[in-house]
């Protein structure tokens, strides 16, 4: 498992590069690699901008049926999200963005889990499986 700290815009680029390498190694197709890297970019930016920085964990995984995949976890100790259902709605935004970061990245991966409480930080776990 690789850990990449997210404290700057450079780190967001580094997360994208590491996720790309892991996705290629796990045999994801080019389109699936692109989807996972794009989701990682959205989530890493959220960790930086809304969570005040944090860490990305990148791990190669295998499903029960033997399919290879990549699991990503983004955690921060920022202010957290009060209403996680609302936060996953298209167009919901805290700032000037389009509100597609969370909802859009969920569409790009196979598994998506958002855990957050006000004052207790935010953790997002995603998995993309090879086909």
């Amino acid at each position: 498992m690789d850990e990449v700290p997210i404290q700057s815009g450079d780190d967001v680029v580094r997360v994208r590069q590491q996720v790309r390498i892991a996705a290629a190694r796990s045999g994801l197709s080019l389109v699936d690699q692109t989807k996972l890297v794009t989701a990682a970019s959205e989530l890493a930016r959220n960790t930086l901008v809304h969570g005040g920085g944090g860490v990305a964990r990148i791990e190669a995984v295998k499903s029960a049926s033997g399919r290879a995949g990549v699991k990503l976890q983004f955690s921060d100790e920022g202010p957290g999200i009060a209403d996680t259902d609302l936060a996953l709605t298209d167009g919901w935004t805290t700032g000037t963005g389009l509100g597609l970061g969370l909802s859009g990245s969920r569409r790009l991966v196979d598994e998506f889990e958002l855990n957050s409480k006000p004052g207790a930080g935010t953790s997002v776990l995603v998995v993309k499986w090879s086909r």
Partner: protein, 117 residues
């Protein structure tokens, strides 16, 4: 921070993005392009993203904004060279890329711009 160069060729500004885009770099490009549009008075901008591996919602929004800003300077922006995987991902992400036209390659983008002027 990296900067993306802007080339003026005839009545068109050419931008070819060859680096892994950081948010600050895209915002800087937006400012540099606005300055160039104001200084040169050209009517077209071509942004080549052949080498760009991902366009996420932030980068996509910045590209749309570049299109809107160009229009205020009476210029049209054409994004060219989008990779198929990027097009599929953008669509699934739900990003419309409004405000900009797209074309298969720089040559076709130039045809669009020349048809306009």
């Amino acid at each position: 921070m990296d900067r993306v160069p802007i080339l003026k060729i005839g009545q068109t500004l050419f931008v070819s993005i060859q680096i892994d885009l950081q948010d600050d770099t895209v915002m800087r490009l937006q400012e540099d392009l606005a300055d160039e549009l104001a200084a040169t008075g050209v009517h077209g901008v071509i942004i080549d993203i052949t080498a760009v591996e991902i366009v996420d919602s932030f980068i996509g929004r910045m590209l749309s904004m570049i299109g809107s800003i160009s229009r205020l300077f009476d210029a049209e922006t054409v994004i060219v060279g989008m990779r198929p995987a990027v097009a599929i991902t953008l669509t699934e992400l739900g990003l419309p890329l409004s405000g900009v036209r797209t074309a298969l390659n720089a040559e076709k983008g130039l045809e669009i711009l020349n048809g306009k002027s």
